[in-house]
Assembly symmetry: C2
Homo-oligomer: 456 residues x 2
């Protein structure tokens, strides 16, 4: 609990970079989804790793939890202070520290957002491709093991974080990883920290892999006669060894919402939005092969958009899909789901989920990063209607159970926070207790983002 003497100590160090104003606290107590809020007792805006380390020492002494805060775009309550404590907002630690074009690496502070990073990289010919849709902070993306539309080719945060600086619960500062492309030197602490959601430490610096901006980019939208054909086309594409940079599924409801919201005129049918990156010769052949596969599944009107503005319009619409869907039911709040299954079970998973939603009476458009077997249903409820909320939560729980039954995972990219905590035992069995033992080893007082990820 944050006592007055503890607060006074903080104030002496952070002065104007500490806030207890109700507006600031409230802002750090909400999230994008229906997950119940938890308001912190104070918000700190640290300016350096040393300050974060001092905070950790202070936290251990006063037994006040620390909860990292990036852009506030997580969907399972990851950054909410459900047990009180201090939100550590990395707003002022958002610099690009070093660009190393020869090694395709960049060193950044955790508060920088992916859009800001890519703006800074534009002139280098390099890019950071991981794209969860939201303009999240890189520290948050690493903590959540985020991915998104481009993971099918470029990987998730697991694959694109080369190294970290982390402040541990006791205030020690460690560095993980090296500047070399690979290492076999001991336990993979980088991978342990990526996806740990601030429960093992606070990330204060990241070294990220960069990729060349593609020489050629081709994007297409293909309409399919039914959901099954669209999803089977994805499976066939991956099995043929084609590697799209993105391959996204939109069901009819999503397409209609995007048409209305973003002024598109896509045909009212399930669609795949696909993109290839590479040199012109490789991409030309990729697109030829994809066309053959897609037409085999009944795709119609496949048109390639090579012009930047046409592509941007399509992807902007895709990125607005969440807002478009919400706008299709005014006043609604969303229960956002996020399951991921083996590609071979994708068709079954999407089919059963659609049928389940259809009988529920809740609108629930489906879209997803289907090249990875990952999809979302956006279950729209009237937040004032506890009956609807309960129905949506039951649907979401059945989606998680279904994903496990099909050999998949309860979350492809959104993470656990506390929203998915109830499904962890089912996914991991005894391995969940092992996660708890690791947490206990690194944070015995339980001050790093308590109530998240591990058994309570």
């Amino acid at each position: 609990m944050l006592t007055d003497p503890a607060l006074a100590e903080l104030r002496a160090v952070f002065a104007g970079r500490l806030s207890v104003s109700p507006a600031v606290l409230a802002e750090h107590g909400q999230s994008e989804s229906l997950v119940a809020a938890g308001v912190p007792d104070a918000v700190i805006f640290p300016a350096s790793t040393a300050e974060v380390a001092a905070l950790a020492v202070w936290s251990s002494r006063h037994l006040v939890p620390l909860i990292g805060w990036g852009a506030g775009t997580s969907l399972e309550g990851h950054a909410l202070a459900i047990a009180g404590g201090v939100a550590v907002d990395f707003r002022d630690m958002a610099a690009v520290l070093e660009v190393r074009p020869d090694d395709r690496l960049v060193r950044v502070q955790p508060g920088i957002t992916r859009e800001a990073l890519n703006r800074e990289l534009r002139a280098t010919g390099l890019m950071f491709p991981v794209d969860p849709g939201a303009n999240a902070s890189l520290g948050g993306m690493a903590a959540t093991r985020a991915s998104g539309t481009t993971a099918v080719r470029y990987g998730t945060m697991r694959d694109n974080v080369r190294g970290l600086e982390v402040v541990l619960a006791d205030g020690r500062v460690i560095r993980t990883g090296t500047g070399a492309p690979k290492t076999a030197a001991g336990y993979d602490l980088t991978a342990l920290m990526v996806g740990s959601e601030g429960t093992l430490g606070l990330i204060t610096e990241l070294t990220l892999r960069l990729h060349g901006q593609p020489e050629t980019v081709m994007t297409a939208v293909a309409a399919f006669p039914g959901v099954g054909q669209a999803v089977d086309c994805v499976m066939a594409t991956m099995q043929m060894g084609l590697v799209p940079a993105r391959i996204e599924f939109l069901d009819v409801e999503t397409v209609l919402a995007c048409n209305a919201f973003s002024g598109l005129s896509l045909p009212p049918a399930p669609q795949l939005l696909v993109e290839f990156h590479g040199h012109p010769e490789g991409v030309a052949e990729d697109t030829r092969r994809f066309r053959d596969i897609a037409e085999g599944f009944g795709a119609e009107g496949l048109q390639w958009a090579e012009r930047q503005e046409d592509r941007s319009r399509l992807w902007a619409a895709r990125h607005s899909a969440y807002r478009a869907i919400l706008a299709s039911r005014p006043g609604a709040k969303a229960v956002v789901t996020d399951v991921c299954v083996p590609i071979s079970r994708l068709s079954q998973a999407v089919g059963e989920t659609r049928a389940d939603i259809a009988t529920s009476g809740i609108p629930g458009p489906i879209l997803g990063h289907v090249g990875d077997g990952n999809f979302h249903a956006i279950l729209m409820v009237n937040p004032a209607d506890p009956g609807e909320v309960a129905i949506a939560k039951a649907l979401a729980a059945r989606m998680a159970d279904r994903a496990l039954r099909l050999g998949g995972t309860i979350t492809g990219e959104h993470g656990i926070g506390f929203g998915k905590l109830g499904h962890m035992a089912a996914e991991h069995g005894e391995a969940w207790a092992v996660m708890g033992a690791l947490k206990q080893a690194l944070d015995p007082l339980g001050m790093m983002n308590p109530g998240k990820v591990v058994p309570g």
Copy 2:
């Protein structure tokens, strides 16, 4: 210590699958390199996960260490029983349990070797690409976080292990990962186990990512006027965004040894051995672009081998390079080194290493997986000459220090075992203590491969 009652208990369970014969013990007490031997007190050949779990319970009760054993090809003493104990030889757990072509996954037991696995996969059109040269076991490769010639395109074991079954020190059996291509559900225990060298548990099953056998493969050897040009060509190739399936460097000494050993007639110059995989159109353009880059660095006589037998001959020679080098100094033993640096520092690292070796009087050909910044010097010594051994070990230590100074790692792919333990503090600082804390959390009695990886 293995007492008579403890041994009797084992014998009751394992009968003929337990050996204490001096020949079998000695076989499990040697390794491929100069690392000093450690002979186990007994060798067990378990037949199931349940038996391995029972062994772990037995080990905790009698305080006898367990050391996993695959193919015995590790280079830093990973599998040596330096504190006594029981070698757990996975020879009889070497089955392919399930091939899932639609998901490009295979489930195997840890004792299967990579060559045996690829033989079993041949008819499926799929392959497991990680290739450390030696015909290692998959369990050992995962435990060591192995990589090799193809990591530049297909990644290391970090990237290609989707999930594991692991027996923990207390006999609990956990499963990590899922069949889905990605997950954000909690700590990445798969990545924690990969590279932990049997110190956190014994791997009893692996789910591995497979890749399509490439439609087109083009291989070339290119001779360069000097080491600097060859290495700079690699850097330029990677920076241009070309993704070779392999790009290997051989210095003149290595080339001469391979010519003599494998009956090749490569020109006596530093060489790059490069390979591209893909569809014909993509590979044709890749090879065109690589030729332009290589010729810009003075490459001569670049010839593409598309025929399977020509390619096989080249790669067989590359895989025999270690034996070829040893054969060039009869009676010699090798101190094998394994450093990895950022690509931008590769030229400097190789140059300084060559100069250091040249003044030492010890023959030390250099070769490596340079697309990853990873290279080896094979320091050949007369094992009966302590002076030579000392010079080679000092050279190896300076290579590790140099790699760290240049922002790299003390081992790209061979791992730590106990041979590299002395460099861990320099690479990891406080993070090494964190590895120790994780070990303590999962193996408080220190029975899983003691004396390796973590602080003693």
